[in-house]
């Protein structure tokens, strides 16, 4: 049926589980049609808002369209849309920011309420009724299993060659009936290549032909190359010390320009036989796979620029032996991440001198995107690396502060902080020892005197000297006295 007809089947107040992870695999037509319907309802003075649950971020035609018409009551578990962000920070939309590995099980447990509708993009519907996923899996299996009703978008813009790349695990159970997840290497396949789907629940099938979000990356610059350089030097050092094998351990890489630059660095670095166990496969990692540097990559989503999408689509049959797309509860599973010994590399908004990391909030109050899977990976990693340019806003704001205004990764979970100025290795250090290396190695030189002055005075004046702080002025660097 048409997208409009399908959208008419979603009532006010529904919780809708949509596909979509990092701008890939989201429904392309029904959300926009639903937004039109919501706008019309509002114009008539009727209430119409829904709950939107996804894998992670989507695209303007989903989050943007629905937020623009004020159609979202509550959003989870991750977003990166400018209009959505504005609504949330204006206090007009509720947002629940959840570890990505927690989402599916919280729904299975009944902790997040009832899921009314699943709205899922797929590549194809097979004769037996099973569904070939598109370029992300995310929470789609859970939405299909848990929702009362299902709306399917079949995107003919997705290559049917995708079939066989996915691994949808149907071995999960609720406690006390859980068993070990039988993955012992990043490429292990433990599930099925398609989604099971109860045809009795399907209320609409909508045909689309539309590309994923074009997630393009800034050309790498001196800053991101310097960060990548410090990380590569560090990894080489760890190999020489016998603390990492020559082919490293499976890599997790967060999203964005710096992460992409690190992948580019690996392309030109000394390591081969690389693997990845990560959430999202971006351009840089695709290059590693295509060049043979990386022999296997596991993820839950592909998030490419238009150019990389073309390269990928041309080469799917070959890439299918090297890329596995999994459900989000498995791509981000603490059990698997810890077992494999992942090298986790994630971005941040600010880090403090004691190693606490803020990944989500500006000045403690304004959400940017969300924690995503960074906690799943950082806490359970073999090496937990956080990377950032040392300053923001043209050098006027330091990414290293006395005390972060919001904590997403505690001092207990952060091992390495890297900026273009250097790498602070915090392993085995007490808070005061950490402060010395964070200020000395990672902070921008122009902010070091202020940070050192704060730390020195805190060491003298703090009531407790385990984690010296001056609570009166801990936030003054980000929140000057009015």
């Amino acid at each position: 049926m048409s997208a409009d007809d399908a959208a008419a089947l979603v009532p006010h107040g529904a919780n809708v589980g949509m596909s979509g992870f990092t701008g890939s695999g989201h429904p392309k037509a029904v959300p926009t049609a639903l937004a039109r319907r919501i706008e019309q309802a509002h114009a008539r003075g009727e209430q119409f808002r829904i709950g939107v649950w996804t894998g992670a971020s989507t695209a303007p035609e989903l989050d943007g369209a629905l937020a623009k018409v004020n159609g979202v009551e509550l959003r989870l578990p991750y977003q990166s849309d400018p209009i959505t962000r504005e609504r949330i920070n204006a206090g007009a939309m509720e947002y629940v920011d959840i570890h990505l590995s927690h989402v599916a099980q919280f729904v299975w447990f009944g902790f997040l309420g009832h899921l009314d509708v699943a709205l899922i993009e797929v590549t194809a519907i097979l004769p037996d009724g099973s569904l070939v996923p598109s370029k992300s899996i995310g929470n789609n299996k859970t939405w299909l299993d848990q929702a009362d009703r299902i709306i399917i978008e079949v995107n003919s813009g997705m290559s049917t060659a995708l079939q066989g790349m996915h691994d949808v695990y149907y071995g999960t159970r609720l406690p006390p009936h859980r068993k070990p997840i039988p993955i012992i290497a990043p490429g292990d396949r433990i599930g099925e290549t398609t989604f099971r789907c109860d045809p009795a629940k399907v209320i609409a099938v909508v045909e689309t032909n539309a590309p994923d979000r074009d997630t393009s990356f800034a050309a790498s610059d001196e800053t991101s190359e310097a960060i990548a350089g410090h990380i590569l030097e560090f990894l080489g050092h760890e190999v020489r010390r016998g603390r990492l094998p020559p082919e490293l351990l499976p890599i997790q890489s967060g999203v964005g320009n710096v992460a992409n630059a690190v992948m580019a660095g690996l392309e030109n670095g000394p390591f081969s036989g690389l693997t990845a166990y990560t959430e999202v496969l971006q351009d840089g990692m695709l290059n590693l796979v295509r060049s043979g540097r990386m022999v296997l990559a596991s993820a839950t989503a592909l998030s490419f620029s238009a150019d990389a999408t073309r390269q990928f689509d041309r080469d799917i049959e070959n890439l299918k032996t090297k890329i596995v797309l999994r459900t989000q509860e498995i791509s981000n599973h603490p059990e698997v991440i810890r077992r494999l010994g992942v090298i986790a590399m994630n971005g941040l908004i600010e880090a403090d001198i004691y190693g606490n990391v803020n990944s989500t909030h500006i000045r403690g109050t304004t959400i940017m995107n969300g924690i995503g899977g960074s906690g799943d990976f950082a806490r359970n990693a073999y090496l937990s690396i956080f990377m950032t340019p040392s300053t923001a806003k043209g050098g006027s704001i330091s990414a290293i502060v006395p005390m972060v205004t919001h904590v997403d990764h505690t001092e207990h979970d952060v091992q390495i902080i890297v900026t273009e100025h250097g790498l602070a290795d915090l392993r085995g250090l007490s808070p005061k020892q950490r402060a010395a290396v964070v200020i000395g190695n990672a902070a921008h030189p122009s902010f070091r005197p202020a940070l050192k002055d704060y730390f020195d005075r805190a060491c003298r004046l703090s009531p407790g000297k385990h984690t010296p702080h001056l609570l009166d002025e801990a936030f003054r660097m980000v929140n000057p006295l009015r």
Copy 2:
């Protein structure tokens, strides 16, 4: 040999891995002898300090004695000793506060430096050279495996009937060679009942006959009984809603009087067939096991009052079928905790209105004990419950504050906050929704107006309204203007 002769084998600068977890199973004689030696060296003007690594907290004759003579350069991963705490907070001792599940693997990985000496209390040395653990296991397996030299204290005060209660897992490997940990129920035995020990590394065997720390508990009071009552009511509600089985799921319980009171509440509650997968088995849980309410308890340490110790010692043979003591990396393993679906119950120092929890610091600067295993359990739990009296210091300080001064458990990891006034169920709530229930249900009524005033003004004046804050005064409740 004598404790003094053994202590003479520990040089200045050594890292010493000692047994001991929650006042049980720590070496009773050599640390005190070592403290005397350090004091004498200092009197001669010589440097003498060591690194002290343990399972968790110990007792005055270990942490207290060594801290008193200023003999500890760096301490990890957890402590609760008054003199040690004073030294750390005076800035005279370095302390690294680590998730308990991380410690062993960080040593295996080589992240914490070299371990020179293992100093381990055991119950017996068997003819084949293997060692029968005493009343805690903690990191002892790792210390025995990793240290260059081994000093053994054989404590004849420990009943030889303990043999067979322990489960020492030798299946751990370094990535990329790790396999699933084959525990699917709290009582599964996957290892050996004794420690392997290379006799060539043993440099001393010292005989002792001394009890563990007498960890006695305050008689339960109205406050702790009210907290326990709210938790029991909540668990019953979850069972009725089908979100928990009638016998619940394996319980983890932190240490202290409130945790003990909750166990007493379970003794008189409606649940039977209970199990535990926890760090420490205290008096209250022992009563549950002895009464048959709890059919199986897994832990890494027994931490009893003198009375409970007598009851336990009389009944070991019977209790051996119901209690398993494991290595700390398994008792606290994220993989197992998540698989089993543990109900985690931990204390806190302060929680904020948005659900962030401070477990470790007074006014952001003074360490109390440490994070212990609370992060291992809370992050991976089926239900993550934090409990506290609503006030401290005779009602003058609120345990619920606008913003915690240190974060150990982020908003992403805290589901339930309970005080004697009620229970705040934060599952699926946005930050502002959480604030309403934390203030309304958990805060002490005398502090609610101030918290509500802060929250209301923050909702109006905060630059971002996702997590409304007034950074200028976020800490004013705990840090009034000077």
